[in-house]
Symmetry: C2
Subunit: 342 residues, 2 copies
DNA sequence: GAGGCCGATGTAATCGTTTTCAATAACAGC
DNA sequence: GCTGTTATTGAAAACGATTACATCGGCCTC
């Protein structure tokens, strides 16, 4: 008969079984497992029994009773965004090292999904949350009373009810502008995403830096996709050519837009940097390989993840302390795409 | 005094509080929450009470009692590997859609970490696991008795105790070789990773396809890093030049190696495809942008993730059914890097 | 009109741990 | 030798939900 198949593990072994095997009470087993005060003799007996029975604690039960979920939430827009990929890796490493689990959620910048995941975080009774919210959700977050600490990443915090860690976006954008200026470029266009606070800050830095050099800022905003950027740049350059006011350089606010711009230059048959210098954000491995190499701002991605976890742990340690905002600096990686001074 | 600060949420609201508020028993509340048989009148009262109290079910308690963790594990080598990034996104989407959570673990191909995460999966009582194991762990996996189904991805399953979903690696490699041959290349070198079963399979396909064309195979194996590939290719080409037997094309088994090869051509001042044609795996967005565009095999990454989840759900439905191996085909995306027939 | 059945509801047991509390033993102080 | 203190241990309560089982009307059938 086919039920001879089901031979193994007819019943899960619990702490009771271990206790019986070792001839002690369940309390003693529990104490051994959590390094409580137990005599050496009993400890050894229990450890043997654990091995013999192949016991594995049930984390759900443990969490229920101890009221510690040992779980942290991580809500980002899309894990496929290399920035979040790197951050998530850092978060996971730090979490597992501290004996905690991570629940990862992708929102696609959709406020409804953000709301539902926030609800989930409450039901999971997470210890803490690391969150990159949209502007819409960020505004409501103040009112929502959550019973766990939140650390914001990438998106800037307004008043200051939450700890946060962000790149110094204005400074980073200025770094790029300064570099372009130093290379001799004078008509520096800017292309920015139109959804995140990040782009807003980078635009501000771009504008300020240009002003400092006495240059004219010319910025446009597009949805954060390569396609949108490619189309917009093509349109823009066509107009500019007609009006005789071609930019000699363009900076963009993230790596998706950067890809779009590079694509557009190919389609239009423009050389980089001869016809157009290009600079952007995020030092992904491939930026070194396209064209003459792309000049970019490198974000300390791993550090951002680590900093978020550190902030979270410190907050858990002392819930009363003042909220903190960690601002990290990017560095400018100069490559050929901004090389041939205009 | 400073304790006026702590005003909100002095005690978490449980199902009991909701029951009291609605004037019903806890059982009725539970039934409302799980769409059980309850009269419309009471259902409405309970729903009001839930809203009024701001009740959030405690998932740990629910899981403990119901013995359903509603959690699936995902163990990969490194989420920063774009292949796994995309797969993980597909898995998460499918999971959350089915009302399940995902626990993501990075092993860095380290068997010890794999073992510890497998232990964790048991303690979490996961519903199922999607796993890309190293060869070492794969060998032991047969013996370990786990009380949840496992679906292997990317790494090929040996005998067949587990469901799995993989790319048709030999065929994909052959596709690349055939394309190179059709473009006129005759001395086709191959560079492969030396850790995964994937690379082994791709090498086999490469070799078979070359043999079918009556060509000589010349393959080397390196650690799966861009640096290793770059160094090895440089050394290789130097030797080849001396012996007067330069390959006119090279194919590599993954995107990291591909980056290494491209880097090497730059350092050596070789043009693609004039001096050397290049082809590889994984159609990442940037492959379109470097040099004349890189010819690659496109893996149906999202589909692989989905297929894994489907396999898992089907297995949960019917634990007795025969194990299945889903083999998906890659497609060849031809670009300029293999364009100028040798 | 009595018996049987069914659907809605409540009571209490249960899931597998941790943790409180009491009990015991050992040991020191006087 | 008696008492107070401390270190181990066990018994049982709790954690917050689900669910088996009992109960109670109402309604149908004969």
């Amino acid at each position: 008969m086919s039920d001879s198949v089901k031979a193994t593990g007819i019943k899960a072994v619990g702490i009771k079984d271990v206790a019986r095997e070792a001839g002690v009470s369940v309390a003693t087993v529990s104490r051994v497992l959590s390094n409580g005060p137990v005599s050496d003799a009993l400890r050894a007996r229990v450890e043997d029994a654990v091995r013999a029975t192949g016991y594995r604690p049930n984390l759900s039960a443990r969490r229920l009773r101890s009221q510690h979920s040992q779980t942290i939430g991580l809500i980002v827009s899309d894990i496929r965004n290399p920035f979040f990929t790197a951050v998530s890796r850092a978060v996971e490493d730090a979490a597992f090292q501290a004996g905690m689990r991570v629940i990862l959620c992708n929102t696609d910048e959709n406020p409804e999904r953000e709301a539902m995941y926030l609800r989930l975080m409450q039901e999971e009774r997470v210890t803490g949350l690391i969150f990159a919210p949209t502007r819409a959700t960020l505004a409501q977050l103040d009112r929502a009373d959550l019973d766990f600490p939140v650390v914001l990443i990438d998106r800037s915090a307004p008043a200051g009810r939450f700890d946060s860690v962000v790149l110094d976006n204005p400074q980073a954008a200025a770094l790029l502008v300064d570099h372009l200026h130093a290379q001799g470029y004078r008509r520096i266009a800017g292309l920015f995403g139109n959804t995140s606070t990040t782009a807003v800050e980078r635009h501000a830095g771009y504008q300020a830096a240009l002003a400092a050099h006495g240059l004219h800022a010319e910025a446009r905003f597009v949805p954060p996709t390569a396609e949108a950027a490619e189309a917009e740049i093509a349109r823009w350059l066509a107009e500019a050519r007609r009006s005789g006011a071609m930019p000699d350089a363009v900076m963009v606010s993230n790596s998706l837009l950067l890809m779009g711009v590079v694509k557009a230059t190919r389609t239009l048959g423009l050389t980089i940097p001869g016809d157009l210098a290009v600079a952007g954000f995020d030092n992904e491995p491939w930026t070194e390989l396209v064209g003459p190499g792309l000049t970019v701002i490198e974000q300390p991605v791993h550090e951002i993840g680590r900093a978020a976890m550190t902030l979270l742990f410190e907050r858990l340690d002392d819930p009363e302390r003042a909220t903190r905002k960690v601002v990290l600096s990017g560095t400018c990686v100069a490559r050929g795409s901004t090389g041939g001074g205009g």
